[in-house]
Symmetry: C2
Subunit: 145 residues, 2 copies
DNA sequence: ATACGGGTTAAAGTGCGCTTTAAGTCAAGG
DNA sequence: CCTTGACTTAAAGCGCACTTTAACCCGTAT
């Protein structure tokens, strides 16, 4: 037992072996030692893969993830490069969270919406306040469409 | 002035004309009338495109966006179909927001982190609490990689 | 008249993040 | 010995959301 095979690592991490190889190719994972041409991993790699997964799930691209991991891999200190990247990404995260909040509002609102059309809803969303709480609307007077 | 050209709509919405055509092809936008083979849009389309943009920016796929818009297009009422979709998506949004929060924590934490390696950080993230507030670590003892 | 700046189409291309395929290597087991 | 099953590689394929390309049409200005 000189370490895990790629298949074992893959199963442990819930990934396909091909994904592990891919991550290796693009530099997200270190090239492991080999025993008769086959990759042999130490337990360490699990943490590494998990880190990649956290980053990917959070919406980091492969390039970002690489910068992220490569940025302070091993014994490298937190580096300014990393800090910059982090700040950029934090801003993006805020933006994305704001978008999600807006969409959530639209969705939640949608369930109780009285707008005659989605387009009306969009207008409402576009303006600052969510659909005017139950605007009085008779069933018959529309003509803008 | 019998309506806007595709180029005008595109410019107003900050999209390429090709995107507008694409949206039309896949059914996100209605086929507009034509004047000598060229598309002519009424102002209405702007709201529609904006709606698409909101949805797309919030992370809806094209298919979702189509269901979303088609779901209560024009004079169609909020429909149960839409409600179901919305609930599914709301759950996804919560998940995604949680991920973003976790990543934000990791990033914010990263700036003040004393872990010797990213992998340590990952372990810490994996456990429930963020890096033990400033674990005592001398500046010179790394060797894990 | 002709050139120009739009518009039109179908089809192919792009970038991302992998997966799939084809062809081959290798250790163990019947 | 030969099969089995997991591994190896490079290269091609896929789904998404568009963009780009190539070849064409068309109204207006010079």
């Amino acid at each position: 037992m000189s370490g895990m095979s790629i298949g074992q690592v893959a199963r442990r991490c819930g990934l396909a072996p091909s994904a592990i190889r891919y991550y290796e190719r693009i530099g997200l994972l270190p090239r492991p030692i080999r025993v008769s041409r086959q990759r042999r991993y130490t337990a360490e790699v699990i943490g590494r893969v998990r880190l990649v997964q956290i980053a990917r799930e959070a919406g980091f691209t492969i390039a970002e993830t690489r910068a992220f991991i490569g940025g302070f891999s091993a014994t490298t200190p937190p580096a300014a490069r990393w800090r910059t990247l982090a700040e950029r990404k934090l801003a993006e995260i805020e933006t994305q969270m704001e978008r999600l909040r807006r969409m959530r509002q639209l969705l939640e609102y949608g369930s109780s919406c009285r707008c005659l059309s989605v387009d009306d809803c969009a207008r409402v969303m576009g303006s600052s306040d969510p659909c005017p709480p139950l605007r009085p609307r008779g069933g018959s007077g529309g003509q803008s469409d």
